[in-house]
Symmetry: C2
Subunit: 235 residues, 2 copies
Amino acid sequence: MKLKETKIECFLALPDIISLLNLSFGFLAILMALNNQITISSIFIIIAVIFDSVDGWIARKLSRIDKYGFGKNIDSLSDIVSFGVAPAVLLYIIGASFSNEIGYLSAVIALFVVICGVLRLTRFNVISDKIDFKGFVGVPIPTTGILLSTFILSRLFNIYLGMFLMVVVGFLMISNIKYKKFYNPQILPIIAILVLLAIIPNSMIFWGINIPATIIFIITLVYVFITPMLNLFKN
Amino acid sequence: MKLKETKIECFLALPDIISLLNLSFGFLAILMALNNQITISSIFIIIAVIFDSVDGWIARKLSRIDKYGFGKNIDSLSDIVSFGVAPAVLLYIIGASFSNEIGYLSAVIALFVVICGVLRLTRFNVISDKIDFKGFVGVPIPTTGILLSTFILSRLFNIYLGMFLMVVVGFLMISNIKYKKFYNPQILPIIAILVLLAIIPNSMIFWGINIPATIIFIITLVYVFITPMLNLFKN
């Protein structure tokens, strides 16, 4: 490869721009969190999840041949910012607002989540074209973002349960539990509508609860916990 | 590859632990920045740079055969946190402390630096084993961390110059200017001593200036700017 062939324009395609939008909303979620804009930060993380889901879909629609792995690399580097650092910072900011002790504890958990996220993404990049089965090894990293954000948006958030969930998801990310790919064309439009309703501020609040956010939170919880539980019964 | 071969312990080696230390100090630099601990945040970024320099060196000493690219992947995912997000957040926190306008401007520049960092690392991962010349294509990403941190530690920091430098380094990261690898066994111990002196708080302050930090800042500036300038004369 010659120097002139190393220009970034030589590699960049539409799905990569979508990945950069995922990255941008992830990074802006961090800036929002540190300005104590907890709700907006959560919404931005969900928007990052949406772009993250769309980039792979567009790449398939365009029949992209990602010869050099540019798409795969830009995707995981964006994911660590949006679903590793952003949820971690958000958890810490909320934790530190309670007390010094909860602040320190949430800082440790935040660091743990980021480390697990990096390990999860690194392993994914290494094994993705070498495994002979479908599905994910370890819970996918956007789960941290979806769980924490919908928990916050649901208005049912509890800091102790939030910290506990992040620790568990951290361990599940670096586990080698096999998760099924969730792809059902019938249910997908319903999920999409729920997500949109969940992130429109004050849209679907009944009895003090954001109903769509609560539903997504519960669906994600079930997805995360049902596989390890079924594994327990199998053994 | 079977499921049991996907355990993270199957891949993890000593250099990866060093990469995780780089990541950890990078992430803690973010938490320090958002607690307005600007000096500690800068020191943590420099410590992350040290671990980042050491991991490759240890991998070579151990003659590590990174068959699957686990080391390369964990390294770049750590780098985007320590030298993309951390300096960006630090710049934003300082900018926002001046005025709303500088806050907004520094947020935009921070986002730009993170995007350029992701593009730089993605391209590096894609071309690193395909280019037929030695050296870096585009200025390496730790430059953002070294420049901003030593500028702050030097006590000569100016927000306008800081923002300007970050924009320029962003463009130089995504450029395809060829940078030489800086490796000189004679000068390396001197640089190491300078770095250690620079990060010991209040150690070498004369005339209100941190001398070692200032020297590293100037050396880095020269490294960053001399190559594009020489290229201008060549053309």
